[in-house]
Subunit: 189 residues, 4 copies
């Protein structure tokens, strides 16, 4: 049941090109428990052994197999009401993250979902700060972008966090296409 | 039988990137009955519980689960001969909708199907007017675009409305590629 | 056996975006017999009833269900050694067909397969002439482009004609990307 | 077991558009044995008969069916510790290979995997030299590009060589999108 949620969302993200063959990671929270994909999981074809179970706080046991983004996932679960997190590398969103301080969607779906999506700069922030900044951003936003890296989306269901990710990429792809047509973000429609 | 039509068309639209994971909606009319996908259906993997049955006119029962676009679907069924409707978010068509008043295809298939595809402006029109304008447009056209939002296509079979949607996106993608090559819509071929 | 060849090639073309949901057509020749997809076949999911059997010459029986491109297929089989034909709408190839008189690939695979791919102009040629021109071109070339319309590729196996189509599209996509990088066709590499 | 690895990786590469219907080839080394896809294998649907078994050195028996890139695969296995090789035609990487002497990723994943990816020029180097240059490059790099042709990636598992290929293409696609946004490789982020 848990596994099939991970599989459907993973396949979805891979099919839409939002993760490469081994990038991205997914997690869910169940009480004080956390299930996260392990390092190098191919999200397009998740298998039973690909899920690591641990706690939302760092307890005694080490988790060498869990995704290296585990500290970010933990921090989000500790400080927000999220029950599911999707980390992906959506290509148009990542491209825009190099030149924008925040993403402001132009399509109706994006506007309804996000008034704006903040872009955090990994180079500028230290690792600890970054973790805190992502967590802070997800208290107010459904999804946040790390410049040159990828997105973190949080929701109740994994499906929901996946939806925010794909909707962000759709909005960013549209913004990119609009730049090609000479439409600037500042123009009124 | 009904379900499998929805599933095939939904998968088709999702595979071609014309809807994101939870955007878009589909409906068919059977007599005075209307079957429509419910809010947030993942069109790429429609299941039995994803279809809502209601009437083509607003009767007593409320339909809180039906797609929020239900009023548009109802209006189209009431005033045209359509038996199937596909609402999608084709990215190149939506991008062009920002800069064009109408889409005039340049490829042979698009020219045979559509002499032109009108673009309606949601910001300018009030909700009631918009519903009426979409319906009016679909009396004369196979498909219509809403600026910054998406397409509505109407046909007899769901497959047919899907075909108009994918053919419109193909034509728009070609127009976009041609702009990149410096070919303008006005040039004669 | 015949059906499964059509199904595999059709699915392949659709998955790669070389045909839209109902565009394109496939045929094979067996002796004096010709099997062709019928009008409006969804190449991504060909079923048994989608194939029409007829002759390579126009005999008494009419074939109202066969693809409207049947005369082109017949002409190719009558005048060349082809045993399989794929007609598709590859988007980058069609885009370039508006601005090029012939396609000259830059990638190694394309160069090995095609020294050049001719572009015929449907607007300029009459229907009869066009049919003859396509046939003539396929005596010397593996694939030919019709401006603003699509490609015809001929081979022994359907798989082979499919390969020429996908390789042409790959070469054209690369040429398009190179234009975006400021590399012109005339430059030497 | 061997077959299923080839099938999964082949399907993966095809789905992501990194090989066209019959381009690309895969191999693995088992002791002194080498398994390689045969000429014209459709990587998207590898079957049992598509694998050719031979040695990592040229022994007496000829291998007319093996991929024409067999000498490159042999040379890599003879002179490096690679156990798996993926040769593909990733379109954005090939496009950039025309204008760059080396690829320097800008995304975090690409930066972690590759400090730089060398671009070799097939036109400039003779066949023998090229084979040696590819082998030399793969002693220090996970993946190498041949200008106007494609990539060779080497790893322990086929999955790993596939991952390097898709990660390279992701980095190159991002670099291409960034050029469209006016971001140059020289800019500091």
């Amino acid at each position: 049941m848990i596994l099939s949620q991970f599989q459907e969302v993973g396949r979805n993200l891979f099919t839409q090109g939002l993760v490469s063959s081994q990038s991205g990671n997914l997690s869910i929270r169940l009480g004080e428990c956390l299930f996260i994909t392990h390092r190098g999981t191919m999200l397009g074809s998740i298998e039973e052994g690909d899920l690591v179970q641990t706690g939302i706080t760092k307890n005694g046991r080490s988790t060498p197999l869990a995704s290296s983004e585990l500290p970010v996932h933990r921090s989000i679960y500790q400080h927000t009401s999220a029950l599911s997190i999707v980390h992906a590398h959506p290509p148009y969103a990542v491209a825009l993250s190099f030149v924008e301080e925040e993403i402001i969607p132009r399509d109706m779906e994006g506007k309804l979902l996000f008034s704006r999506v903040p872009v955090l700069d990994k180079e500028v922030l230290k690792a600890n700060e970054l973790c805190r900044e992502i967590t802070e951003a997800l208290k107010q936003h459904k999804v946040v972008l790390l410049r040159g890296h990828g997105s973190f989306a949080a929701g109740q269901l994994l499906e929901e966090a996946c939806y925010y990710t794909t909707a962000l990429e759709y909005s960013c792809r549209l913004l990119y296409l609009l730049k090609g047509l000479g439409v600037n973000a500042g123009q009124n429609f």
